[in-house]
Symmetry: C2
């Protein structure tokens, strides 16, 4: 599918490593006051003054984390930035810089790399992060993207995974499960395409799910929203592996238990329809599907009034004593022990 979209094919080998880096990085802007020196030396130089620095890194591998058969390169570049920025947001910090390293086969045309970097540049502008460094090299097979994201925060703003208390409320932003179902739709279309390359899929009924998979957003707005509500979460994590897996992280690190309520899970109508079409239980997907990049956090019970009815947030459960364990309370009011069955790159 790359060939269809990029009829022009310029060899990256003829540019050379330094020529390629110059070409790919020429559109990057420096906007953060904390960036003293970006790309162009042995290292970037940053000045965070009295702020604390938050840093996270992710490695994305073709065939493991993404499939170029249905993931346009521009979207891939955008998403690669988003998943890293999301980790910074999950610390309640403000994203400020990223480094971007890529490895590609010699046979990857320059036009394809330009698409990838257009997506990276777009995300960097959207999230106001400076691209301050990276590495460009060749791979023996497939495309590899490694991004490190930095952010800043005052010490008292930072929220860890280990601060949840026994009576805290469990809150999630947005809706969940849609990214996973978007992936199922795309996988199905890929198979249809392989059987009949001339089929013209009508994906209107799936547009929200597909967008959640191909162009997720990091919840950079939540920091501002919570600040305005005068709420500081007691613990926080982003949903990359799946709600169930993330709840277990918060509980394990905070030494608490949790009751999660099935009837409270925020899910989109399109998500419910498509789960029915695929004959999959929507609750199972909502709690185990990953890649939503929403934020999951706990707040003190006293903050209930501040958050109640706010369309950005859904209270989906409450924490308990550690000895009570971690349970899903179903619509039929039965308790089922939660298991972390989130996406696991190493067992696939």
């Amino acid at each position: 599918m790359i060939e269809d979209k990029t009829p022009q094919r310029t060899s990256i080998a003829q540019l050379g490593e330094f020529g390629l880096i110059d070409h790919l990085t020429k559109n990057f802007e420096i906007n953060q006051p904390s960036t003293l020196k970006g790309i162009g030396d042995d290292a970037a130089v940053l000045d965070f003054k009295d702020k604390k620095v938050v840093i996270s890194t992710d490695l994305l591998i073709e065939g493991v984390h993404f499939d170029l058969a249905y993931m346009p390169l521009k979207h891939l570049g955008y998403k690669a930035v988003v998943v890293n920025v999301s980790d910074i947001c999950a610390m309640n910090a403000k994203p400020t810089q990223i480094t971007v390293s890529i490895a590609v086969s010699n046979r990857f045309p320059l036009e394809a790399l330009d698409e990838l970097f257009a997506g990276i540049t777009h995300a960097a502008r959207e999230y106001n992060v400076d691209v301050i460094g990276g590495d460009t090299t060749s791979s023996q097979k497939g495309l590899i993207i490694s991004i490190t994201a930095l952010g800043e925060a005052d010490e008292e703003e930072i929220v860890y995974r280990n601060g949840a208390k026994e009576t805290d409320l469990l809150v999630v932003t947005g809706d969940i499960g849609a990214a996973y179902m978007g992936l199922q739709v795309l996988e199905r279309e890929k198979q249809v395409f392989q059987v009949n390359p001339n089929s013209q899929p009508d994906l209107d009924a799936y547009n929200y799910l597909i967008e959640r998979q191909l162009k997720p957003e990091a919840r950079k707005d939540v920091r501002t929203l919570l600040h305005a509500l005068e709420i500081k979460p007691t613990s926080m994590i982003d949903i990359s592996d799946g709600l169930s897996s993330e709840i277990m992280h918060l509980c394990k690190q905070s030494k608490v238990g949790c009751n999660l309520y099935e009837d409270k899970l925020p899910i989109d109508p399109q998500f419910i329809n498509v789960c029915e079409e695929f004959n999959i239980d929507s609750t199972t997907v909502a709690i185990n599907g990953g890649e939503d990049y929403e934020l999951l956090f706990t707040i003190a019970m006293e903050d209930f009034e501040k958050i109640k009815g706010n369309p950005n947030f859904t209270i989906i459960g409450h924490m308990t004593q550690e000895s009570e364990g971690i349970h899903l309370v179903t619509r039929a009011n039965t308790k089922i022990a939660l298991k972390a069955r989130g996406w696991n790159a190493l067992s696939e």
Copy 2:
């Protein structure tokens, strides 16, 4: 060769991603006062107070940057840290933290990963850097290592590539070219081994060169040495791609020319012997061979007396007006224009 050394093979898939991360990271220590929170949350948290932050990243790909046929995994882990720490040293900063991301095939046994992480842990202790984060995932083919290194410095200590002046002296640490010849020896032994797996190579005559290739060191000491001599370089870079290539970077960014003197190049006697054995011109290798991880820098002419005769440093040339170009002055006193022919991952 992995099988020979690690007869026990534990599957990493059975540990799962989180189990594997716990296992691999349990030996990492936090020693830097600037590390507030290391591995275990969405992001690490750092506090550099009034220091500036220096950050650099590198991607190492099996089959492109290393060959497991002759690179023991423990050495690979060590070297992966060193090449990143070297970039921090090249800014005249103090290395403080690294993040380590790896992608491996499911079929890679846990014992092999333990070797790799033993080398990473050893280097982290040796260079006193905290391992504060990373990512662990599967690859479709081969081993991929992505490391980001951070360091700290006062603003006035930081040395960029662009500060060289027209009359500055050009200085290099240690000796150069040996790492490249070490690679040639190892490549030859690999081919001998493929023809006759029972051959027992006698590598005594090559031990220095092989060590320079398999276990290079970053020149963390140079910052202290220069500080004691009261010298601040006007520009600096580390030698990863080759002396010639690095000189061109300094000249281009500083807008100066350079005369490099062939008879001043610091080379080891073993290096000369092996160049003769391989029938390769030693000067060509000394200026084009990469991976020495020595530091190349310029100093003001007034600092000549402070550095003269110091065994850690060799003055190999001087900068000129930009219009004079970049030349090697040979032993026969002829001037040859330097070309960057350093190692180029993308054209191989």
